[in-house]
């Protein structure tokens, strides 16, 4: 009994803070990953969109031969864009699960735990990177079937995985921010749709920045999806190269992620009020 009392106040007191934070982030992510593994249907249901883009849109569009792809076949130009958008579409609806868990009462349990808010937000971002990587495998399979000129050097694969993780974390955190603001599932569905298409069309996913009218190019240069696509284009396909530069692509995305994380951490407790 006295040992029980001693242990009672031991929650995290014997652990260095950075390690405690990391373990808490992992615990939040683990809950979500275990759910996906119990019911992977969601991952399969996401296969359809990239298939449509690569099997229908790319072959038809490539016949026009008007898009300056920098010497790439159109399908090779577009494959990184399809991967980026499919990860983005998946991540952007991630916030709805937070609202759902709030309605269930699951979220409250996390909020009364000693885990700091930033761990709860970062844990969610981390679990969405798991989904993003699973999606990447699907897109690679479809791309192989469609004979996209993929590159398989290990450093490039590692780069693609890193890039997808960064993108998934950024857009899932954006989604979390939106969820904390709208706070209801019905409203969120509308907001999610409102975010996806503009982010997608105002990016270099299916046409290059150089083709855009000036005003759109400005928007696209702020849009984190453009940097995601640019980075993937430099890594994924033969003859591909970044327009904006690897460092710039990573730096802008990291900056977006940091800003969104800070906002989400601030807003997160409000979701249960």
């Amino acid at each position: 009994m006295s040992q029980e009392l001693a242990a009672r106040h031991g929650a995290w007191s014997d652990t260095p803070q950075p390690l405690a934070l990391l373990l808490q982030i992992l615990a939040v992510a683990e809950a979500d990953v275990r759910k996906v593994l119990h019911d992977p249907w969601e991952l399969f249901s996401r296969m359809l969109q990239p298939v449509l883009w690569l099997v229908i849109f790319a072959p038809v569009f490539s016949r026009t031969r008007v898009i300056p792809t920098g010497g790439l076949r159109y399908i090779d130009f577009m494959a990184p864009g399809v991967l980026a958008q499919s990860v983005m579409f998946g991540a952007i609806f991630y916030g709805i699960s937070i609202i759902w868990e709030r309605d269930q009462g699951i979220l409250q349990k996390f909020l009364v735990s000693p885990a700091p808010r930033v761990a709860l937000v970062a844990g969610r971002a981390l679990s969405s990177t798991f989904r993003g990587v699973a999606q990447t495998i699907v897109v690679y399979i479809v791309a192989l079937v469609m004979r996209v000129a993929l590159q398989f050097e290990p450093w490039r694969i590692a780069g693609v995985v890193f890039s997808v993780m960064l993108g998934a974390a950024t857009f899932s955190t954006l989604s979390l921010v939106a969820a904390c603001i709208v706070r209801s599932r019905d409203r969120f569905v509308g907001v999610g749709q409102m975010m996806t298409m503009p982010l997608f069309l105002a990016s270099n996913a299916i046409y290059p920045l150089s083709m855009m009218p000036q005003w759109l190019r400005v928007v696209a240069r702020v849009n984190p999806l453009s940097y995601q696509v640019d980075l993937l284009r430099g890594l994924m396909v033969q003859g591909g190269h970044t327009v904006l530069g690897f460092e710039m692509d990573v730096a802008v995305q990291v900056l977006w992620l940091a800003v969104l994380m800070a906002i989400a951490t601030k807003l997160y407790p409000r979701i249960v009020v």
């Binding site: 031991g10 409250q108 349990k109 996390f110 000693p114 249960v272």
Partner: protein
Amino acid sequence: MSYSGRVGHHRIESAIQTIELTRRYDSLVAVNHLDFSAPAGSIFGLLGPNGAGKSTLVKMLTTLLPPSSGTALVSGFDVVRRPSDVRRNIGYVAQMISADGDLTGYENLLISAKLYGIRGKEREARIAGALDFMNLIEAAGKRVKQYSGGMIRRLEIAQSMLHRPAVLFLDEPTIGLDPVAKRSVWEHIRELRDQFGTTILMTTHDMEEADVLCDQVAIMYQGRIVSIGKPAELKANAGPEATLNDVFILSTGAAMLDGEVRGGSLRDVARTRRTARRME
């Protein structure tokens, strides 16, 4: 009531003490300048109809909701100034179902243990102990969506006790449960008090539950505590053969039938019904 400004953890008589604790929602005062304390090691029942302010009070005590004014000490820590110390020392089971239906019972406990920094052999031992204590060993590998309402509640209480909190908050723990499951939950709540010395603050609108289970009862009505004491004392003061229901009528001038005195916002009522339905 004077507030000495005491911070830090001390061995204290009161596990919970509120100081002019108040919460407003626009024009509505959900919790109105509340001053009360709950003795350590007791089962303290907050009794009142829907909309009385019980859940708002619990949310403030568990740091989910900031007070509009005033504060409270929970296990010796100020909920406004030291919320993370409060969180380290409390457990909370929401009125809604907080166990994750898509995970197994074991996984629910595992994630909680990890969030609270319980590691290695100690973690496995506590999870095994919790499953045993709550009679859930056989169901541990099943997903929680297949559990009955009583099993879910027992799992949630086990989850909230893994880190051996000094104070445990239970918001309507038996709502929607059949009489057998309800009694089993009561039994487990008593055992927590007796085995671990946990202070338990629970809300209820069930007169029998307050009478049979609670060491202390506070009757809450329109954001205030209108009556507080041991159930037997409250009844004795109300007159010979009085029930807690009579105490309630005497204190408020209103009758409480089935938990509903006029009032209780639509949202409260809808949530209560939803939880009750899912517990069936």
